[in-house]
């Protein structure tokens, strides 16, 4: 039995309603757990005063400079004694989950056992950083908990100015749209740069995220400095049986209104089956005996919309890889930025392709480490120095896929024009 509960009239109101309640969960913990009793008291205080009461600090495990989020209470009496002593230290361990957040029940139970032994028993699956967040250990137990998680094969994630924990989508494990082995890329990259994760020495945080197709379920374009978004460069594939089945179930109006009309580049047409164009860039599939869908793959931007609507009937091509975008981040301090294209197509098939991705990632991290100012994200750095300087630094050639449109003002010294034309000609003849 734990100590008596603090009154929590505000939190109690979060126990009603149909959605699972974290308060009910905390109260379950509090039955035999003094830390949970005091955590509830601590949180109730915030609800009452509408203020936060945790401060950070410095705490780590042996050999690591990051991965622990220390939290010390600021609710104290006049003598400096914590009002909620059993939650006075409530640190979080950020632990990297298996890529794709897959678990067997035995592993989850064992993680729970360790966390009950050394921590509060409260676990977030998962934090916005992509970590398992084991919330609520005191300073003494952080190392003990880590040691046991580590014995299971788990390792800490990132925090502070460092490489951060990454995320990859379910992808190859269960998705027909997957254009590369997301987990493989995820593993190779994180394992190649673990030192940057565990011993923070970068100007600021650096994040990789891996999505298997342009639906970008991992939000990589916005949430990562280095986004690897699956795509293909040959023609879309089709499955006539599934296309006919879809058309029979949905009909012409739905096809026109939700597929043809919603294509952002008007790359699709309906044609009489006998009139379908031939050509190396044309994909077509019969919808019934008379009608066919014709797709001009040269106009298609791989947005995924028609593949999402006609699942399986339209499929990614065979020549698969990823588009690499750099510089996504949230608001601080120049405003939120999306990643922008630096490699339109990066082939990802054989092992050496994945090794080449690691090599590219290394160049980007090195350039960031050497050139970013303190507390400057990759996107901000590029904003400051310009994309051409960044590309030169990582030895990537310019490409018109990197822009939405060319420059619209003349305020630049173009004295080097002839040299740049020569480079453009050289790139063309090398392609």
């Amino acid at each position: 039995m734990a100590k008596p509960m603090h009154p929590t009239p505000n939190l109690d109101q979060l126990e009603s309603g149909p959605w699972p309640s974290f308060v009910t969960g905390l109260k379950r913990l509090a039955k035999d757990n003094d830390a949970a009793v005091d955590l509830l008291g601590h949180l109730e205080q915030s609800y009452k005063t509408r203020k936060g009461y945790w401060k950070g600090g410095t705490l780590g495990v042996v050999g690591y400079g990051g991965g622990i989020i220390p939290r010390f209470t600021e609710i104290k009496d006049e003598d400096g004694k914590p009002t909620f002593p059993d939650a006075a230290e409530f640190h979080t361990l950020r632990v990297m989950p298996p890529a794709g957040m897959h678990y067997d029940t035995g592993t989850l139970r064992k993680l729970c056992d360790i966390w009950v032994k050394h921590g509060s028993g409260l676990i977030a699956l998962h934090g916005q950083s992509g970590d398992i967040m084991f919330q609520g250990a005191n300073s003494e137990n952080v190392q003990k908990a880590f040691d046991e998680f580590n014995e299971m094969g788990f390792d800490l994630g990132g925090a502070g100015p460092a490489l951060r924990t990454s995320m990859s989508c379910v992808g190859h494990a269960r998705c027909e749209q997957s254009c590369y082995d997301e987990a493989k890329a995820h593993h190779k990259i994180i394992n190649a740069f673990l030192d940057e994760m565990h011993r923070p020495a970068l100007p600021y945080k650096f994040k990789f995220k891996f999505s298997g197709c342009p639906n970008d379920c991992m939000n990589s374009i916005q949430r990562s400095d280095f986004a690897t978004i699956g795509t293909w460069r040959d023609n879309m594939q089709t499955d006539e049986e599934l296309a006919k089945k879809w058309f029979a179930a949905n009909g012409m109006n739905t096809l026109v209104n939700t597929v043809i009309n919603m294509c952002p580049t008007r790359a699709m047409q309906i044609k009489a089956a006998k009139d379908v164009a031939k050509g190396e860039n044309i994909t077509s599939v019969k919808l019934d005996d008379k009608q066919a869908l014709e797709i001009d793959n040269k106009s298609c931007v791989r947005c995924m919309h028609c593949l999402n609507v006609m699942t399986g009937a339209l499929q990614p091509g065979k020549d698969k890889g990823a588009t690499i975008l750099i510089g996504g981040k949230s608001v601080l301090k120049i405003g939120a930025t999306m990643g922008t294209v630096i490699i339109p197509f990066f082939k990802l098939d054989k092992d050496e392709d994945y090794e080449a991705l690691v090599e590219l990632a290394g160049k980007v991290i090195d350039f960031f480490a050497e050139n970013a100012l303190e507390h400057e994200r990759t996107g901000e750095m590029i904003d400051r120095i310009g994309l051409p300087a960044f590309l030169e630094g990582i030895e990537v050639e310019i490409d018109p896929n990197m822009i939405d449109r060319p420059r619209m003002n003349p305020y630049v010294n173009m004295g080097g024009w002839d040299e740049e034309v020569a480079k453009a000609e050289a790139r063309k003849s090398a392609a």
Binding site: F22, R28, F90, D181
Partner: protein, 357 residues
Amino acid sequence: MAQPQVRKPVEGFLDNKKFLHPKFAANYGKWKTHDRPRPGVLHHVSHSGDQVWSVRAGTQRQMDHYTIRKLCDIADKFGEGFMRFTIRSNVEIMVSAEAKVKPLIDELEKNGFPVGGTGNSVSMVAHTQGWLHCDIPGTDASGVVKSMMDALYDDFKKEEMPNRVRLSTSCCEINCGGQADIAVVVQYTKPPKINHDQVANICERPTVVARCPVAAIRPALVNGKPSLEVDEKKCVCCGACYPPCPPMQINDPEHNKLAIWVGGKNSNARGKPTFHKLVAAGLPNNAPRWPEVNAIVKKILDTYKADGRPWERMIDWIERIGWPAFFEKTGLPFTKYMIDDWRGGRNNLNASAHVRF
């Protein structure tokens, strides 16, 4: 004296293969198509003809170990011993026979885990830590989300929206919750209150000066002590100075407000990925249930549901009807604060004669 034995850590990101459901492992990279037999259930078919059903259910994200063990019990008894989690903290339990789907759904529902969150539903809110565990929170996160999802429970369980709806909440302006169709984000409305006695001891002043996006902070001597001062005319109340310098307190029980942003999306489907846009602000930080916020979120969703066409995401719908119609249909006031005056903001003005009447 002998040093205590120190365990040497084994560094490495573990391989995920042994955690995969056997059907996932057997058909890795070989999936052909999928359909949704009902909301909350994904049915995937591989090129070899293998099939797997994934049943998705909502959780509270911050889970006590009893809740996780309950999910394990369900996955062992009604599933096949494996589960995974989505980016929005939904659990997915997989089975390889259709007959197992219904009993699994029933068991999840019986234990309070709502089955849904697939397709054109409103999925669980991506959210942050808030008062529970953050060191700089302007509000709570789990509580806001619990209140929102109580109100959107049916929309999670049904697939009745024009397209999928992604929500997020963030407990400060850093917006860790991320871009979303509808995002609820703390908005500070007053410059920081500075405790000049503490600045010199706690803050690295040049760092704090450099952190300000509008150069409103400068070093100053206050009461004979080195401190910092803020040009309150320039200050945009973003709170960026607060994390590196806690004596520059940005949080205030009264003046922390909540703002609502719409039309963000990360997917490339149809239009390019885009950031969410401001549509409401000044909402009170009204714990424990934030009714004013929920009322507006619900109003926006109801309007979108009634007016959006199939497959239109929130932003697709708004771009079709236009922003004036959005404000008219939702009844939300359009104020000068919605006119972007940040760097590059002029690009967000209507530089055309395209006007809907």
